[in-house]
């Protein structure tokens, strides 16, 4: 089977599965109702993006054998979403550079492991510049130090002062913890490919004292709550919820990363990461619906940054890495939920991962002029 055929077959598998298991309809069979859409659009729109990461394969998520790992999305989210079965990432499959590409709508070529800003303008810069929004209106909650430059590009027409504010919860926690703890360094684990590496911070990362001033959270409360959590992604969701309550940004980007433990070669921990992320995505939807600033006016977009290598690709080692660039590692999915977005609909046509930024641009009213993608017409 040729790569494109493989990709198409992946999409078909997802669509058939979703249609049977969740009772959703095929997108091409659903007629659009402009009246319903107009009535449901609220003022003061907000967008939350969750990257379902880092890197999850089809067979552990929406393929029939993966359904046991995503029960919350299947039960609570899929019936309310427009779902795209084929989102193709044609760029570099490293988590930082791929997330940066998602955030710019252009395939970035920066060093995945260096502390560098994206070269193309980010979604946050487009939004803030076009709509004249303050920095407090755009936030990124990201795994740790490696993502600290994701909020603002080096682009000469945008860049400095126009980016998002970035919170690195693990970094924040490390700063809050007393020194000398034996397992302290584990908290700063940035990526599971090189688990002992922690890059130096340089950028406009969130400062510890802002916990209290912005998030209304004492260091002791923060530490106390962290002790009840089981993973860095749970900490990210906790911080995101505080942000939503205290700052209510219009554009919030949350990068999940627990799943990337797969690099250690432990399948059970990889699947556990997927199940946790599935639960956290469902929790985010509940948070959106329970927060007055977000309920009824928020578009939630969930997508993996990319997949992982296929079991039968001799160049890889199955789920462990994303190094081959094979069709499975490049083909993922996208879920969109919110006012004006059709519910329970599946689209099988291929979209590009760079389409995300221009799509959000159409929702929020900015132009992503340097993006390589196009708005996804079924969402906007």
């Amino acid at each position: 089977m040729r790569p494109l055929e493989v990709a198409a077959s992946i999409g078909r598998t997802r669509r058939d599965f979703l249609r049977e298991a969740a009772g959703v309809a095929l997108g091409t069979a659903v007629l659009r109702s402009p009246f319903a859409r107009a009535a449901s659009i609220a003022k003061n729109k907000k967008v939350i993006v969750i990257t379902f990461g880092g890197g999850a394969r089809d067979q552990e998520t929406f393929a029939p054998e993966g359904q046991e790992n995503v029960p919350n999305m299947l039960r609570d989210l899929i019936p309310r979403s427009t779902f795209f079965t084929q989102v193709v990432n044609r760029g570099i499959l490293g988590h930082y550079v791929a997330t940066a590409s998602l955030a710019t709508g252009a395939y970035e070529t920066i060093n995945n492991f260096a502390s560098l800003p994206p070269e193309n303008p980010t979604i946050f810069e487009y939004y803030r510049k076009d709509l004249k929004r303050p920095s407090s209106d755009t936030w990124v909650v990201a795994p740790s130090n490696g993502f600290n430059r994701i909020g603002e590009s080096s682009h000469r027409s945008y860049g400095l002062g126009l980016g998002a504010r970035v919170i690195l919860p693990k970094h924040l926690l490390a700063a809050a913890m007393s020194s000398g703890h034996t397992d302290y360094q584990h908290l700063l684990r940035d990526n599971y490919e090189t688990p002992y590496f922690t890059p130096e911070l340089s950028g406009r990362e969130f400062e510890l004292q802002q916990l209290e001033t912005l998030l209304k959270l004492s260091v002791d409360d923060f530490k106390g709550h962290a002790r009840t959590l089981s993973s860095p992604d749970e900490l990210s969701l906790y911080i995101a919820r505080q942000l939503m309550r205290q700052v209510a940004p219009s554009l919030l980007w949350i990068t999940m990363h627990d799943i990337d433990i797969a690099h250690a070669g432990t399948y059970s921990l990889y699947v556990e990461g997927i199940r946790r992320t599935d639960r956290l995505c469902a929790e985010m939807l509940k948070i959106i619906e329970s927060e007055p600033e977000y309920a009824g006016k928020t578009t939630l977009l969930i997508l993996p940054d990319f997949g992982r290598d296929a079991d039968d690709d001799p160049g890889g080692n199955g789920f462990q890495h994303h190094r081959t660039g094979d069709p499975l590692s490049r083909t993922t999915w996208l879920m969109a939920i919110g006012p004006g977005i059709r519910e329970g609909v599946v689209y099988d046509r291929a979209v590009d991962s760079t389409d995300l930024v221009p799509t959000i641009g159409s929702v929020l009213g900015f132009t992503a002029q340097f993006s390589q993608g196009r708005p996804i017409k079924e969402i906007v």
Partner: protein, 401 residues
Amino acid sequence: MLPSDLKPEHFTSYPPRARALASEYVATLHDLPLSFVSGLLRQVIDCDYNFPAERKALERELKNLAGLSADQRAQWIQPFASITLSSKLERFDWVNSPAQFVEQLSAHLWTTHQLDAFRTAATNYADRLHSAVPPEQPIVPRLGIAIIGQGVDSYSTPLFRKLRPHGAYFSHVNPENGLNVLLDVVADRARKHPGDYLHWYVDGGQAAEHDAAVTSLSYAQLEPVRTALLQKMHSEIEKPGMGPEMLRTFMAQLRPSDLGVSTSVDAILGRFQVRVLTEGSGTQIFSTSFAQWAAREALRRAEPLSLLARFAPRQRQKPMSELLAPSADRPELDPVGSLVDADIGAYYNWINQQRLPGADKSAFLAWFEGHNVAVLIGPTVPRGTVSDAPTDMKQLLSWIV
């Protein structure tokens, strides 16, 4: 420098056998593009420490390339010649550091969106090579064995779900003496079909007593090496400017003597052990990753006739709440999580065995250690079948060996 500039004296830093091989084929290397030659030299420079199977395959490949006419060679290699490289790559010391070059080449291919073209070129070349120089068939059908679930008393979730469609599932296997029976069959094959590195036993824990004719390595045996490696990794990352790629390069350059591995008895195996720990992600920390990766690399490189991989409990991954709690206890084990890891590891062992010549005649057995369930795969075993009939390990083996 480009491949056309190569001379025998460029290989003076190579180990003896590698130097001789590269010099013998230097004229052939002249005609090859750098994106191809670097991969070839990466294999050549290591050939003194290659297993017999991979050394023979390399020599056959070089001989084939040398035997092609200039036109034929150009045709074979043309897709690689179409890959554009940067001047920085061309200036790199790719003769003496081909592995590091290939890492940089990989980053270049990703960045310049040429990875797919390179993949296609490599796949087509491999297909062509297999047609022109068919791989040697094994002298007897291969046998793979995976033993999983050590230390798990009970587990209700179905096992071997990915293997079952390819063979028969047995639910009433008498587990008595199962490990010894399986080790004995490997030893028996080693005696009947002797050869260097043809019969392997990989253990993710403490190795059980086994025949000396079998090549073996275990996670427990390598504990001092793992400790030494982790210490070196920690000290390296403390150095200013150290990044992940530099750390990877550092690890790739480690030699057995750097980690206290003796090579006086077996330099090839010593080098292999170090490679498993320095190149395998997670192998230094999790015993299940070690067992899977060691088995994979043994299959890929040594092409053994028999390989028994026994998975053992790995250390438990601590949740964040425990990482924050002050405790210096030794890591606990996670037998059930390890069983899940090993279940997919057994599947990967089978896939990797099936990539080798003679796959249509190969046999595979996976067993939940100490329990009644096993899967048997082989040319005479009906696929996707289930047997509830009482049986034992010897009977299972009699159907495939």
